[in-house]
Amino acid sequence: MGAANKDHLLGKLDLLVLRVLACGDSMHGYSIAERIEQLSENVFQVGEGSLYPALHRMDEAGWIRSQWAASENNRRARYYRITAAGRRQLDVEEREWLRAAEAIANVLRMA
């Protein structure tokens, strides 16, 4: 897997994570992954190996904020919440993705 390809995937992961977080309250990594899998009807299997580095990177970038809190089963868990900057970033990425998807769809249709 080349570096460019990986970046592309990660970019998509960022978008999905931000989108999932944008719908509501803070979530921990596991439930984020679960939610993405659920919403994509198990098309995307989100591996921890890419999810957590992405979460930490976005946290440092200021798109999301993390906080330690007790989980539903009373374990210490890190919860992530989207920030205003994150929402702006989501907007940008979402628009870019939709444009790209549309363009690809157009190409597929027309060719």
Binding site: H28, G29, Y30, A33, E34, Q45, G47, E48, G49, Y52, P53, H56, R57, D59, E60, G62, W68, S71, N73, R75, R76, A77, R78
Partner: protein
């Protein structure tokens, strides 16, 4: 914010690690729970989660990388690695640290002293504008000079003087001798000192007819007055007169630097009784009262302007009063004033001491760096495999160099910290060892500047000693470096170069030490011109308003004392003198020689030091009378009619052999030369002979003299007898400053002796380090080649051929280093001589013995490793293959 957190995370990687672990563990647990819920068995669930978790360590590293500042984190890692290596190689590390701590600590200590001498503020207001004014040849100006300077100067805005005298104190517990400074009222305002209690002096207090006032120093107030807060208004009895305490000075104030000629700490200050009319006398003519003159330069005035200002004043004075300010042929070398920044005057002769120290510790640090570089080089090459593995795993050369440098910085930082801790102690030890009291250097203290200097120096040293091992050690070749057997001869040339440098530097220090030793030897082995054995000297002072001024009654009083002392059984002879050998004395220049003219036919003007002696002086000190006679009972009266001069006087003024009978023209009439005596070392050991003239005590006398007594009695016994004899004549007469002439001689050699001690200590330390360096290099060379040598031995090479092949290269390098060191010493010969005040030239013998000594050290340090070579058993060595 984010940067700050990432910065903090660098330093708490444990906590960061724990958080990451927790987060991933939570994820795993959740996964396992879900797998259970989906009906998978425990083992299956674990397998499933494990499969899904993938390569966790890589994930964690990526997470951590997002959370820290990358380059900093890797540097910290390298530093940790450095510490681990230090601990692993504890022996070598301790050695390096000790050497560095010594080198850096020594430099930090000397910097502390240099800072105290040149940078730290003096305890006076705007001390940079303070100057002191001098007459030629280091004579202090007279009170008359002071008044003239003060009224005529255009560049000094304020002037003051101080004169330091012994006084007898009564009225506290017991009679005591104290040191008083007699000052003008302007003294304290000029220095910007405000008393903690009471007031300073008013101008009118320098005039006549005022009740005497006294200001106490803080030390005196605490020691003698019990720090009494209501001390103002109390009276003390000083020299039999009541004086009212009017002020107490602040604790930090002092003006008693031995370099300014103030041998002992001052106890009290009193106003100087200035006469309304002062007769015109300079102190170089021997008649004026010498005082320490200080002045404050006007805002914006330069030292050069002050200098030309005071020189002009000197010209005006010597034209107005040619008899008192000798300058008959307008010869500016005979009389002038010179202005010296007060700080320069205070540092004085200690400047050369500081230079010696700076040079010594600087060279020591260089040697320490060379040694450290060598040890690190050996270690970095031993780590060739580690380097190769790290390179193979993707570490760049730059990263490797950085790692080596960081290890160097760790060493330097530890060494520097240890050095800093030692610095305060070392500088105090040096100050305590100093041959004379030095309030300036004693005020040395560690501060931020010293810390900054030490850290900076440590980092620079680290660069100096770590760069070579880093460059050499980070280089690797894929094949051989990874194989188990590392037989690198990499860096041997550098290793040899390093010991060549060490040899050069330590030989350089040895030469410098040799030079000061030779100087000391010359100083003490050159004849003194007198016999110091069995002579006791002590000081006598008559209570007098003007202590350094002619007093016609003094001669009679001292003559009476002398008769009593000479009557003591066991006393061979006794005499008084104003300045005994080796002690500072007074000038005397106003006269011309009758019968001896210069090329223009004008009588020669003369300038000579003058003494006032009693008739038995030459016999008492064993100074040879070469022609004529000494003073007799007939040489009395209120006028000087006879004089005895020394050989140098005769030589300098071209008087030839028939000197006796020639005359000196004096305003009061001609003075006849009646005797010629040998040269005596006059002002300290290091001064070459100066023209001198001796007057009779019965024609010119001062209330302040030395009594010298030659006797076979023990000094203690003699002193008691002398005190009793003088007491029988005047029970109030204090006798103080007692010293044998032998002690005086030893005393005057103290400074050059201390120089020898210091230079010798530096040189020996340097040689020890160089020897250690040579030992370790030669050992390394031997162990490196032991297999090869064993094979050669097995093939029949002779042991001497082996020794030659191992040592040949190194010996050549050491010889080159020796040559460079001697060359350096010869090239800087004049600098070293002027810095150490050495009057001698280094003899070829000195240089030859230095080289031989170092050669011997080389042989000794090569002996052990070479013995190992010759004991090499080919069979054992080859079995290791």
């Amino acid at each position: 914010m984010g940067v700050l957190r990432r910065f903090i995370n660098v330093w708490r990687s444990d906590r960061l690690q724990r958080d990451l672990d927790d987060e991933l563990e939570f994820h795993r647990e959740m996964g396992a729970r879900k797998a259970l819920d989906q009906g998978l068995g425990g083992e299956e669930a674990r397998q499933e989660t494990k499969r899904r978790m993938g390569n966790l360590s890589l994930t964690k590293e990526q997470m951590r990388d997002a959370r820290v500042i990358g380059w900093l984190a890797s540097s910290v890692q390298d530093l940790r690695h450095g510490f681990v290596l230090l601990r692993r190689d504890a022996g070598v590390s301790t050695l390096i640290l000790l050497v560095l701590a010594l080198g850096i600590g020594g430099n930090a200590a000397i910097f502390t002293l240099v800072k105290a001498a040149f940078l730290d503020p003096l305890p006076y207001r705007e001390a940079g504008r303070l100057v002191t004014i001098m007459e030629p040849n280091g004579f202090l100006p007279s009170t008359y000079d002071f008044v003239e300077l003060k009224t005529r100067t255009r560049t000094l805005e304020q002037m003051a003087f101080a004169q330091h005298v012994d006084m007898q104190l009564n009225g506290t517990d017991e009679p005591a001798r104290i040191i008083a400074a007699r000052v003008t009222a302007s003294f304290f305002p000029l220095l910007g000192v405000n008393p903690t209690l009471g007031r300073t002096f008013g101008d009118e207090e320098n005039g006549p007819g005022r009740a005497p006032a006294v200001i106490l120093t803080d030390g005196f107030w605490r020691a003698r007055m019990g720090a009494d807060p209501s001390v103002i208004g109390r009276t003390l009895r000083l020299d039999g007169q009541s004086a009212t305490v009017v002020g107490v000075l602040p604790e930090g104030f002092h003006f008693d630097y031995p370099t300014l000629g103030i041998a002992e700490p001052v106890d009290v200050y009193v106003p100087y009784p200035l006469d309304p009319v002062i007769p015109p006398h300079s102190s170089i003519n021997g008649m004026g009262t010498p005082v320490r003159v200080i002045g404050r330069m006007r805002e914006g005035a330069t030292l050069a302007q002050v200098e030309s200002d005071v020189r002009n004043i000197a010209h005006v004075l010597s034209y107005g009063h040619p008899e008192a300010f000798p300058n008959p042929q307008n010869d500016p070398s005979l009389f002038y004033f010179t202005a010296l920044p007060l700080r320069d005057a205070i540092v004085g002769t200690q400047r050369s001491l500081l230079w010696l120290l700076i040079g010594g510790v600087g060279v020591l640090l260089l040697i320490a760096c060379a040694n450290t570089a060598q040890l690190l080089l050996a270690r970095s090459l031993r780590r060739a495999r580690e380097v190769a593995i790290r390179s193979a795993l993707g570490a760049s050369r730059l990263r490797l160099i950085r790692q080596f440098l960081l290890e160097g910085f760790v060493l330097a930082a530890c060494g520097g910290t240890a050095g800093l801790l030692a610095a305060g102690w070392i500088s105090h030890a040096i100050v305590r060892l100093l041959p004379s009291r030095s309030p300036l250097l004693a005020s040395a203290h560690l501060d931020v500047r010293v810390i900054a200097f030490t850290l900076g120096l440590s980092m620079i040293s680290a660069l100096v000693f770590a760069i070579l091992p880093a460059m050499k050690g980070s280089r690797w070749t894929p094949g051989p470096s990874l194989s188990a057997r590392v037989t690198t001869v990499e860096g041997n040339r550098w290793r040899n170069a390093m010991i060549a440098i060490e040899a050069a530097l330590s030989v350089f220090l040895l030469c410098a030490a040799g030079l000061v030793t030779q100087n000391l030897w010359t100083l003490i082995s050159t004849p003194m011109g007198f016999e110091p054995n069995h002579v006791l000297a002590m000081r006598l002072t008559l209570p007098s308003r003007k202590q350094n001024f002619p007093d016609p009654t003094a001669g009679l009083i001292f003559q009476e004392y002398l008769e009593k002392v000479q009557a003591i059984p066991g006393v061979e002879s006794a005499a008084t003198v104003t300045g005994p050998p080796l002690r500072a004395t007074r000038g005397g220049c106003p006269n011309m020689l009758i019968g001896v003219t210069d090329s223009a036919g004008v009588p020669k003007s003369i300038c000579a030091l003058q003494h006032q002696i009693s008739s038995d002086y030459f016999r008492t000190l064993g100074i040879p009378l070469l022609a004529g006679r000494t003073f007799g009972r007939g040489d009395v009266g209120n006028k000087i009619t006879v004089v005895i001069v020394n050989e140098e006087f005769a030589r300098r003024f071209g008087l030839g052999a028939d000197i006796v009978g020639k005359q000196i023209d004096d305003p009061d009439g001609p003075i006849t030369i009646v005797g010629l005596i040998g040269n005596v070392r006059t002002s300290g050991l290091r001064v070459s002979p100066f023209p001198e003239k001796y007057f009779s005590l019965m024609q010119l006398s001062q209330p302040n003299v030395y009594l010298v007594v030659r006797s076979a009695l023990s000094p203690g016994q003699l002193l008691n007898q002398v005190k009793m004899a003088i007491g029988s004549s005047n029970s109030d007469q204090a006798v103080f400053g007692v010293m044998t002439m032998d002690e005086m001689v030893a005393d005057s050699a103290m400074e050059p002796r201390f120089d020898v001690f210091l230079a010798g200590a530096f040189a020996l330390l340097a040689v020890a380090m160089a020897a250690a360096g040579m030992y370790s290099v030669i050992s390394y060379l031997v162990s490196q080649r032991s297999n090869e040598l064993a094979i050669r031995l097995a093939l029949g090479a002779t042991r001497s051929a082996i020794v030659r092949s191992v040592l040949g290269n190194t010996a050549a390098w050491v010889a080159a280093g020796l040559a460079c060191g001697v060359g350096l010493a010869l090239a800087t010969n004049n600098v070293i001589r002027s810095l150490s005040n050495a009057a001698v030239q280094g003899t070829p013998w000195m240089y030859v013995s230095v080289v031989l000594f170092f050669f011997l050290v080389t042989i000794v340090s090569a002996y052990v490793p070479m013995r190992r070579v010759s004991q090499l058993d080919p069979a054992v060595a080859l079995r290791c293959e």
